[in-house]
């Protein structure tokens, strides 16, 4: 082990810049520097101590700030590339093969490569998650490597420091001890007024305050790690769920991924701002834009199945609650929340027809077909009936003389009917669709004429469960505490001692806000008649300036 032994006799680990005991500079660079590098108190970062086993090498890799910054940059670049084409969430196909085909078809070979690289599902791709994970390791290892030595060094710091340490502090003074023996006591009193913690040792004084500000960055990193942990938990079953469902007015459906619960939509409501009733300013906007929605709402009833009920058994549903789901006002139950997300207006629900004589126009009565529950027979009275032979909710044409439907959704309903009237007891067959009537067996005497239609709306709902929210919030709060701790508080230290020549030596250090510590040191200097300090950095800057002027 190549420990460095300081002139004071203290043994320092390899990589130490300033002696842990007296503060003498230990490296040749540190000795050359006029001002001491006070980062991490000049202690050795743990990663620098040795580099022998594979574990040490891996550890040192993650401990490097350069590696951390590189990871952040790579992640940012990848995230930026991920915005070039839409993510899989926003393409209208599902299933790996179809998604690959979609990217190739729409975006060509670029899209194909993009998808193959996993850029189309960035957050879900293994390499992106690996990068985030590596960043997590980097944050933890780099923090541990710095916070432990810093903590130890601040904990055991000496009151009397070596002259070379004092001299290499930015604020430094040396001079006659005017008040003699009383200097330190007067300084102590003044410093205590300024709310410093003061430590005395024979002929030396150390005043310190706000040390906790030094932990800010590490507290901040702890917050980040907790946040990442919360995100990680989301992938475990039971912690996070995000599903969608489409629910028609009047329909009761099982809630996806929430066993035993059912949801019925009573009504979907879309309200718009009324120009007459709003402020002038908004009135103008309404005139310009047209209608502006003021409310999207689904009135629902939540049901629970009895404890021992099985899927499919819906005869004894128990009403849990009635509620109006509005945007940002979800229906909450157990761990779940159901949000209003989307809607479709005016799907056909009931169609009204009139049966009439084509020649005379005489009406034999009306009938209404509920598209949810079409019936086989409709009796119009007066001996007239209509028999429903076939219902095709999404009529798409004939195939071998057979009407076809391309989906179960009533986008284009069509009916095959047989009309029986006192005049035509054998019945007449007709195929009735929107804007189309076919009489397959020759001309009919009667026709079923479309009168009007009832519609209903469909609500698009999102069902969410998120047990990680409090972890994310906790991580965020700790993160912000760390930021505040590191930014709004400063770690200030003032050293005063009398050296062997009877001269008074004063030095001061802060991690930020030098203006603040100068103001305080001014007060102490005045009260205890300390020698006037100089800001060595200003002096250095001025010298540099002079040099610059000379050389130019």
């Amino acid at each position: 082990m190549n420990n460095i032994i300081c002139a004071c006799g203290h043994e320092n680990p390899e990589g130490t810049v300033l002696c842990g005991n007296c503060g003498r500079p230990l490296t040749t660079e540190a000795k050359k520097q006029k001002l001491a590098d006070m980062r991490y108190e000049g202690t050795a970062r743990r990663s620098q101590t040795y580099n022998k086993s594979i574990i040490d090498k891996v550890w040192n890799f993650f401990s490097s700030v350069k590696v951390g910054i590189s990871l952040i940059i790579i992640i940012l670049v990848a995230a930026a590339i991920g915005t070039i084409l839409p993510q899989v969430l926003f393409v209208p196909v599902r299933g790996a093969a179809e998604i690959a085909a979609y990217y190739e078809r729409v975006y060509g070979s670029f899209g194909s490569i993009y998808n193959w690289l996993g850029l189309s599902d960035l957050y879900g791709s293994w390499w992106f998650q690996t990068l985030i994970g590596m960043l997590g390791i980097s944050i933890i290892v780099a923090s541990l490597d710095r916070v432990v030595p810093l903590y130890k060094s601040l904990k055991k710091q000496r009151t009397r420091r070596h002259g070379s340490f004092m001299k290499s502090q930015r604020l430094f003074a040396q001079g006659e001890n005017i008040l003699g023996e009383d200097t330190l006591s007067i300084s102590e009193e003044k410093l205590k007024d300024l709310r410093y913690k003061v430590k005395r040792e024979k002929g030396a004084l150390l005043a310190e305050k706000g040390r906790f500000a030094r932990w800010g960055p590490y507290v901040n990193h702890v917050g980040l790690i907790i946040f990442l942990l919360g995100v990680m938990l989301r992938t475990l079953p039971g912690f996070y769920m995000d599903e969608t469902m489409w629910l028609r007015e009047g329909e009761t459906l099982a809630i996806p991924e929430v066993p035993g619960f059912y949801l019925e939509s009573k009504e979907f409501i879309l309200e718009t701002y009324d120009k007459e009733q709003t402020d002038e300013v908004f009135g103008e906007a309404i005139e310009r834009v047209g209608t502006i929605a003021s409310n999207f709402q689904t009135d629902v009833v939540l049901y629970k199945n009895s404890e021992d009920a099985l899927p499919g058994q819906t005869t004894d549903l128990i009403e849990v609650k009635k509620e109006s789901i509005q945007v940002n006002k979800p229906l909450k139950f157990e761990d779940y929340a159901i949000y209003q997300m989307d809607f479709r207006l005016d799907e056909l629900s009931t169609m009204h027809f009139n049966l009439s004589n084509k020649a005379t126009g005489e009406s034999l009565g009306d009938l209404s077909i509920n598209l949810d529950k079409p019936e086989p027979f409709y009796d119009l009275g007066n001996g007239a009936t209509v028999e429903l032979k076939g219902y095709y909710p999404d009529f798409s044409g004939f195939e071998n003389g057979e009407p076809q439907t391309k989906s179960p959704v009533p986008n284009n309903p069509a009916f095959l009917v047989e009309m029986i009237t006192p005049e035509t007891p054998k019945g007449e067959t007709s195929f009735v669709a929107i804007k189309q009537t076919v009489e397959p067996f020759g001309d009919n005497n009667y026709k079923l004429e479309f009168q009007s239609v009832d519609t209903r709306d469909i609500s698009g709902l999102t069902i969410r469960k998120d047990k990680t929210l409090w972890i994310l919030a906790l991580g965020g709060v700790i993160f912000m505490i760390g930021v505040a701790q590191g930014s709004y508080f400063n770690h200030r230290r003032i050293w005063i001692h009398e050296n062997n020549d009877g001269q008074l030596v004063v030095a001061a250090h802060t991690n930020k806000n030098w203006f603040g510590i100068k103001k305080e040191l001014d007060q102490v200097t005045e009260t205890a008649q300390l020698p006037q300090y100089i800001d060595q950095q200003d002096a250095e800057d001025q010298e540099l300036k002079k040099d610059g002027e000379k050389s130019s």
Binding site: D56, G133, P256
Partner: protein
């Protein structure tokens, strides 16, 4: 001596920290990659029990058929491959219904009229139930139609057939797989 001890301690601490972190990351990536597969039923899983009513008003509860093989077919009248499979299923039903195999055709939330008319048109003799609230579809995580789940006499899923059209030969083969021995 103290140095060597310290060194060893540090090595152990570092190894433990790095392993915990790496295990956590690998685990996260693994669960993410296999996420969809967790939710879907797999071969060997117990088929979730359900109860549905058929067109004649008879209740069918899956667990009542324990000891028999059950051929669960999820379908819709508008789905062409589903329609194509139906006659083949019906003729195989005639052969296997006396050998301890039950077919349950589960229609997804269509009207009684459409399903009844379809059954009449094709003269289907096996029970057809309608999952009005889609709760059974949810429990089985059915995505594309048709999907067929073959449940063996022990109530475990023996085979899952997603999409496509099963021929009469396919169906006969599946029936043999779930036939009580």
């Amino acid at each position: 001596m103290a140095q060597a001890k310290k060194k060893q301690k540090r090595f152990i601490v570092r190894t433990i920290i790095l392993s915990i972190l790496i295990i956590a990351i690998v685990f996260t990536i693994y669960t993410n990659a296999t996420k969809e597969k967790f939710e879907v039923l797999a071969i060997g899983d117990t088929a979730p029990d359900f109860t549905l009513v058929d067109l004649d008003g008879n209740k069918h509860r899956l667990s009542d058929y324990k000891g028999q093989g059950v051929f669960l077919n999820f379908w819709g009248t508008w789905c062409k491959p589903c329609v194509k499979e139906m006659p083949a299923m019906d003729s195989q039903y005639e052969i296997y219904k006396d050998q301890g195999i039950q077919i349950l055709a589960i229609n997804i939330a269509q009207s009684d009229f459409e399903v009844q008319r379809f059954a009449n048109q094709y003269g289907l003799s096996f029970p057809i139930v309608i999952d009005k609230t889609r709760s059974v579809m949810e429990a089985y995580n059915i995505d594309p139609l048709p999907t067929t789940m073959l449940v063996n006499p022990e109530g475990k899923i023996e085979r899952i057939v997603i999409g496509g059209v099963m021929t009469e030969k396919d169906i006969a083969g599946f029936m043999e797989e779930i036939r009580p021995k």
